[in-house]
C-alpha cells in the first residue's frame, strides 16, 4: 500500500550541537549515504565541524543563517532549534531528523535498525486516527484491521509526522532521570500506531520524520525556556512544536504515528545539573497541555500557515500574560510563518481541508 519514493525526495536534517560528527556519521553511513543531508551547526558552537567524507551534504552555520533570515531573526535557531533552519531551507518532500548523539539501534534479533527506511514507511503508509486498531499498524506485514473496524475508515489518511523512540537513554525529563539515574530503556516495542485524533502526545524532537510539503510550517521553533541549554533536559522546544503539529494535523485530517523506529541514544550529560539549571520547563507544561487541549481552530483555517497563525494568536491571548516565554513563543511563531512564506515556501504546498 505504500508509495514508492525516490531517494531525491528525502532530506536528512541534523542539528549539530557538538563539533565532532565523525562517529555519528560513520555509524549512520549505511542508512544515510543514499540521501542528501543538511547539517545545521548550532550558531553558538565555536569549533569547526568535523564531518567524514563520502556524503552528499550541505552545511549551514551562523553566517548562512544570518544571511538567509537576518541576524535579528536568527535568534530562533540557536541550540536544538538550529535544525529548524534545515527544515526551512530544504526543498525535499520528506525530512528525517535525528539528534547528533543518537546512533542506529539493534532490534531484538540483533539486526541494525534502518530508522530512515522505517520513517519513510511510516510516512508513505496511511494513518488511521479516527478509530483505534488494537493490532496497531494495520498496514504492517502480517497485520490488518481487526473485527469491528469500520470499513469506511480503512483507507486511512495521509501520515504527516512519524515519531520514533529511543533505546538506552530514553527521553525522560530531568527530575525523572535524576530519580532513576541508572534506568535505561531496553524494551523494544515492535509496533507503529497512529495517535488518535483529538489526543495529544509529547513529541520528542530526538527522532522524527515528516512530510515537509504537508506540515513543514507547523514545526515551529518557538518555545525557548529562560534557561534553555544544550541538553534535551534543558529544553521544551520540541514538545511545544509537536503540540502545534498535532493540533494542526487533527484540524486538517492528517495523521501522526508513534512507535518504531528506535534509535540508540548515547549517555550524555547529568540530569541533576540540568535540573538545577532549568526547571521551569516542567512547570510550564501544567499550563501548556490544558491550553493545547482546548485550542479550537476555525473552519476558515484551511492551510497549515493559517492554523499556526491562529494558534499563535491564541497563545498570545491566553498564555501571554502568564509568562513572558509564551508571549515570545507567540511572536516567534508569527515570525516563523513569515519566514516560511518568504524563504521556505518554494516547494511546500499547503494542505487544504
Amino acid at each position: 500500500m505504500s508509495l514508492a519514493i525516490k531517494d531525491d525526495e528525502v532530506d536528512i536534517v541534523i542539528g549539530a550541537l557538538r563539533s565532532d560528527l565523525t562517529t555519528f556519521m560513520n555509524e549512520w553511513r549505511p542508512m544515510f549515504s543514499r540521501f542528501h543531508l543538511i547539517i545545521v551547526k548550532d550558531p553558538d558552537l565555536k569549533e569547526e565541524l568535523k564531518i567524514p567524507e563520502g556524503f552528499n551534504l550541505d552545511v549551514y552555520g551562523k553566517p548562512e543563517i544570518d544571511q538567509v533570515v537576518g541576524s535579528s531573526t536568527s535568534i530562533l535557531f540557536s541550540g536544538y532549534s538550529c535544525r529548524y533552519f534545515g527544515y526551512l531551507v530544504s526543498r525535499k518532500k520528506y525530512i528525517i531528523s535525528v539528534d547528533d548523539d543518537c546512533l542506529p539501534a539493534r532490534d531484538p534479533k540483533g539486526f541494525l535498525v534502518d530508522a530512515v527506511a522505517q520513517h519513510i514507511s511510516n510516512l508513505t503508509n496511511p494513518a488511521t486516527p479516527f478509530f483505534f486498531n488494537t493490532l496497531y499498524d494495520p498496514y504492517a506485514e502480517g497485520a490488518d484491521f481487526v473485527r469491528g473496524y469500520p470499513f469506511s475508515l480503512r483507507g486511512g489518511v495521509k501520515c504527516a509526522l512519524s515519531c520514533g523512540l529511543w533505546l538506552n537513554l530514553a527521553d525522560h525529563d530531568a527530575p525523572t532521570q535524576a530519580l532513576k539515574a541508572r534506568q535505561r530503556n531496553s524494551r523494544y516495542v515492535d509496533a507503529v500506531m497512529t495517535v488518535p485524533a483529538g489526543s495529544l502526545i509529547p513529541i520528542s524532537g530526538i527522532n522524527i520524520a515528516f512530510e515537509r510539503e504537508a506540515v513543514g510550517p507547523a514545526l515551529v521553533p518557538a518555545l525557548k525556556l529562560a534557561g534553555e541549554g544544550k541538553c534535551r533536559w534543558e529544553t521544551m522546544e520540541d514538545i511545544w512544536s509537536g503540540l502545534c503539529v498535532k493540533v494542526v494535523c487533527d484540524h486538517l485530517g492528517l495523521g501522526v504515528k508513534t512507535g518504531l523506529p528506535y534509535i540508540w541514544r548515547t549517555d550524555r550529560g547529568d540530569p541533576i545539573a540540568s535540573l538545577k539549571k532549568e526547571w521551569e520547563g516542567v512547570k510550564l507544561m501544567e499550563e501548556v497541555i490544558p491550553f493545547f487541549q482546548s485550542v479550537r481552530l476555525p473552519r476558515e483555517a484551511t492551510t497549515v500557515e493559517e492554523c499556526i497563525v491562529e494558534v499563535a494568536n491564541a497563545v498570545k491571548e491566553r498564555l501571554g500574560s502568564m509568562d513572558p516565554v509564551f508571549a515570545r513563543a507567540a511572536k516567534a511563531m508569527l515570525d516563523w510563518i513569515k519566514l516560511w512564506q518568504s524563504v521556505g515556501s518554494s516547494s511546500s504546498r499547503s494542505s487544504a481541508v
Binding site: F132, F145, R187, S204
Partner: protein, 359 residues
C-alpha cells in the same frame, strides 16, 4: 529501583467467566494459573448436554434453564446460542474483578519461550492506574523499566482507576469475515511488548476473548447485547459492550488499557458462517461509530447504570431508524440494568465526574 512487589493473586476477589458449548479441556493447560480461582461457566446452546469440567476446579455452571429460572422474564436480554450469554456470568458474580476467556484460547509463550500468565498480567493492568488524558509515548509508565516521558505534565502522572484490561491474541487474529476470507493463512506472530491506555474520546473494537475488568466499577456496562438465535446479527456482542463501556469510562474518568497479555488463539471460526452473522453489522457499524463518537452524557449521569440507561435512550432515538433491531436492543439494555440491580442490590458505585469532563 528496589524490587518489584509480586502481583497479588486476588483469588477471592476475581471470578473467571467462561462461555462454552463444547468442552472445557482447554482448562488443563491453564491449570497452573487458574486453579486458585472460582470459575463461572455459562453453558450456551443445548441445556441437556453435560459440560465436563476438569477435576480440581471450583466452579458454578449455568445453562439456559438456570438463566430462565434466575431471571424469569428478564432472561430475554441474555442471548441464546451465542457466546454473548457470558455476560450473565458477570451479573451473577459476587466478585470485584472478572476475567473472561474463550474456550479455544490457550497459554501463549513470550519471545523468550516462557509461558505467559495472562491472568497475572491482567491483574497488574487493573491494579495500576491508566493515563487517558495525555498519551505517553513509552506506553505504560508504571511498568518496570518505563516512566513518563519529557513533557508529560506532573499533575497527570497519578493517573485514574483502570476499569478494563483488553488483552490480545497470537496465532489466529481477531479478524472480521471479509478479512478472514481474503487472508485465510495470516497468523499474528508479532509480540508487541506494550500496554497502553486508550486515550479519552477514542473508540476501539473490544474483543471478549481475553478480557478483564473491574466489575465493581464498570460491570453494568458490560452487556453483550442481543446476538445469536432469533437475532439478525452475531459477533458484535463484545464490540457493543466495548463502545458503551468506553463512552461511560470516558465520562466517569476511568481508564481502558489494551495490549499485553497475549493468549494463543487456536481455532479459526468458519469465515462463511461468520460472514452471515456479521453481514448486517458491517453496514450498521457505519452508523454505530458516528453514534458512539457523538454520544454526550449529561453531568447528572453519575453512575454506570444511569449512563447506560441514557445511552439506551439515545440508541432508541437515533439508531431505531437504522433498524428495528436497535429498538429491541435498547429495551434489552434497560432489562439488563434492571436485572443487574436486582441481582446486585448493594448499590451503585458513583464516580466523581472530573470538572468539565462531559463532551
Amino acid at each position: 529501583m528496589a524490587t518489584v512487589s509480586p502481583t497479588p493473586l486476588l483469588k477471592d476477589e476475581l471470578d473467571i467467566v467462561i462461555p462454552t458449548i463444547r468442552n472445557l479441556d482447554f482448562l488443563e493447560m491453564w491449570r497452573p494459573f487458574f486453579q486458585p480461582y472460582h470459575l463461572i461457566i455459562v453453558q450456551d446452546g443445548d441445556p441437556t448436554k453435560t459440560i465436563k469440567v476438569p477435576e480440581g476446579f471450583d466452579y458454578e455452571l449455568y445453562n439456559r434453564n438456570d438463566i430462565n429460572r434466575i431471571l424469569g422474564p428478564k432472561a430475554s436480554c441474555i442471548s441464546f446460542k451465542d457466546s454473548a450469554c457470558r455476560c450473565f456470568g458477570y451479573m451473577v458474580s459476587k466478585k470485584k474483578y472478572i476475567y473472561t476467556i474463550d474456550d479455544d484460547c490457550f497459554v501463549a509463550k513470550d519471545p523468550s519461550g516462557k509461558d505467559i500468565n495472562a491472568l497475572e498480567q491482567h491483574i497488574q493492568n487493573l491494579l495500576s492506574p491508566s493515563t487517558p488524558f495525555f498519551f505517553n509515548t513509552l506506553y505504560d509508565p508504571y511498568r518496570s523499566g518505563a516512566d513518563f516521558v519529557r513533557g508529560y505534565p506532573f499533575s497527570l502522572r497519578e493517573g485514574v482507576p483502570t476499569a478494563v484490561s483488553h488483552g490480545l491474541w497470537l496465532n489466529i487474529p481477531d479478524y472480521d469475515a471479509p478479512t478472514q476470507l481474503v487472508k485465510p493463512l495470516e497468523r499474528n506472530t508479532r509480540y508487541v511488548d506494550a500496554i497502553m491506555t486508550i486515550p479519552k474520546g477514542t473508540l476501539f473494537p473490544m474483543c471478549g476473548m481475553n478480557l478483564a475488568f473491574n466489575r465493581e466499577l464498570i460491570g453494568p456496562a458490560m452487556y453483550f447485547g442481543l446476538m445469536g438465535d432469533g437475532q439478525p446479527i452475531g459477533r458484535y456482542d463484545d464490540m457493543w459492550a466495548g463502545w458503551c463501556t468506553k463512552v461511560i469510562c470516558d465520562h466517569l474518568g476511568w481508564g481502558v488499557k489494551t495490549g499485553l497479555p497475549y493468549i494463543w488463539h487456536s481455532k479459526a471460526s468458519n469465515p462463511f458462517v461468520n460472514l452471515k452473522k456479521e453481514y448486517k453489522g458491517i453496514y450498521w457499524q457505519e452508523e454505530l461509530i458516528p453514534f458512539f463518537q457523538s454520544v454526550a452524557l449529561p453531568k447528572d449521569c453519575t453512575t454506570v447504570q444511569k449512563c447506560y440507561i441514557e445511552i439506551s435512550k439515545q440508541v432508541k432515538a437515533k439508531l431505531g431508524k437504522v433498524d428495528d433491531y436497535f429498538n429491541k436492543l435498547a429495551d434489552a439494555m434497560v432489562t439488563w440494568i434492571e436485572a443487574w440491580d436486582e441481582l446486585n442490590p448493594s448499590g451503585d458505585i458513583s464516580a466523581k465526574i472530573p470538572n468539565g469532563a462531559s463532551k
